[in-house]
Symmetry: C2
Subunit: 375 residues, 2 copies
Amino acid sequence: MTDTTYLKKRVGQCCRHMDDEGLDVLLLTKPANMFYLTGDGRLCAYAMITRDGKVALGVPSTDVADVTAAARFDHITGFEDEVGMIHSIAHYFSHFAIAEGSVGLEYTFLTQSMMGMLTHPHAKPEGVAPRDCTHILSAMRMVKEPAELGRLRAAAAVADAGMAAAVSAVKAGATESQVAAAAEYAMRHAGAEDFWRSYVSSGPRTNIAHGLPTNRELEAGDLVMIDIHPIVGGYSSDICRTVCVGAPTAEQQAAYDLYLRAQQATIAKIRAGVGMVELEQTMHGILGDAGHGDHVFGPPIHGVGIEFEEAPLPPGHAFFHGEKEPPPLPANAVISVGNCGLYTGPWGVRVEDTNIVGQDGPETLTRYPRELVPA
Amino acid sequence: MTDTTYLKKRVGQCCRHMDDEGLDVLLLTKPANMFYLTGDGRLCAYAMITRDGKVALGVPSTDVADVTAAARFDHITGFEDEVGMIHSIAHYFSHFAIAEGSVGLEYTFLTQSMMGMLTHPHAKPEGVAPRDCTHILSAMRMVKEPAELGRLRAAAAVADAGMAAAVSAVKAGATESQVAAAAEYAMRHAGAEDFWRSYVSSGPRTNIAHGLPTNRELEAGDLVMIDIHPIVGGYSSDICRTVCVGAPTAEQQAAYDLYLRAQQATIAKIRAGVGMVELEQTMHGILGDAGHGDHVFGPPIHGVGIEFEEAPLPPGHAFFHGEKEPPPLPANAVISVGNCGLYTGPWGVRVEDTNIVGQDGPETLTRYPRELVPA
């Protein structure tokens, strides 16, 4: 099955969702969604999908030749600037004879300004009402095809290589930023075309929820939290490890062992049909039973795919993505387990791995050793 | 003058803007704006600024100790999740006795989902109307203080180091991603705590507007476009160079020479009081006179500061930022010149540098040599 066949099939599925929901056309600008449906997702571009399966792309005029090679589409337009973009959208509404009905927009992605542009009277016919279409793309992207699983496995192998390099760079005197440098350099040389922002925190900074790297120098006895996300062939992986500079205290080791036990017990429950909430409760339950119920932050589980955080997502996190509650996990969904962390106050620990939801159990893709004191 | 004094002065200026516009409170979630006003800008957090200068911060409960050390504020709240966040926002509206009037929100940053959360009836009093406040923060951040200029100079030196490493990595057989790796590794080791996404494109890919790196291998005769943006002490720099793998054709050299001439002529016109449009017309004019008027994409000039693309911005680019037209450039604004590129079809060239708007002329901060064939 070629990529083009996949894309055609995906557009067909998308049209059935649009039928079910009475949407006449989608107007997508989120690169990940455009990539999934058309084979190309770039900045400053849009894709329109009609209910009968026509695909129109608008891209910067400079990019027309490049996108022609990459994407599956029926129509393509290059525009010089945003006024041209607005007019080209209006042109497609007219060309597809859509003067009333509803257009699906990505409410979890569009800023107020972009929303204003896409719904401008010079872009969208007055009779066409905008509605959120995030959930349609999320539902489709949640279940991975075999070729997607292959790319996710490749991305996980690159994540393991990045983590090995990062852990090798952990030593007193190195900065958090330099640990990130080692991971990123190794991931690019192992085959990543790019990566999402790296998180490296150390010492007291391991207690914060989103520890972006700083120039803080590692000290003996520090914990170091490393969270990296390579992109390989358009697909991502998510791995987090916590390691100690030298020997941990008994308290640090105990917290780490507890967290790892909770994470592994949660992973062990992964199988087709299990609910996100059941997995969350497993993870939170073990931490809570040990007296750490108030020491977690953020959802412990999220999907991984074209984005390193995507559906299935826990419901309601507007800052996170703003999605609705997912169904019981289908086979071939891919989820990261261990995102919530255990934050004790002076320091925190986190271990996170990417897993395929198999019919009868998990396939854990990221495999770098889970040890507070690296061998 | 300490950082805290700066922050107090900035909040005071902000209050005068709010007075002028009749805004009762700002509710900020964009990290760059929060960093500017409070000294701390982190993900999944908010800052409220009242018209009489009170500052309240909400952060993940894990982060309270960390933010206390970093930020300037009168109140701080930790929340466990987004429901807690909504309730803490409601608490501050009540505590500050703001039951009607208007709240400033960042329309160029907030997604529809985040907007829904911040204006939820459980967060915002019904009598308080939301309005865009992007332009207030943009106007304030546009003029840099001496300490900010110092950080921008440091970031530019790191950008030069990154470019030197990237250009050294350019050779047949290396991938675009590996060229990015060299730049990023060097920037982190030269003092960057982080960087914005790197752009590296080669061969035919130099003709696209936003050339993110791929695993394409460089070939003899390829042009390679490298655009990098380190962050040092919270401030960014923006540099782009185009180099050739081996010897360029006469056509490539001529296009490069033309582009560099247009960029340098535009930089030479920088001084306090000059208009963005005048600078744009200089750049576009020289390219247009040479028959390349249709071979540019995107605004040639944008501001640089906490973000690598910020005010002053050309008006109307909703995808870019969605801001209003800036005033004539004030002294100590910082702008990048050369962002539009020259895209001939088979390949493109771009040279971009970060400059301080001086009273009588430019101070160009990024200084890596501008040569199509590196010495």
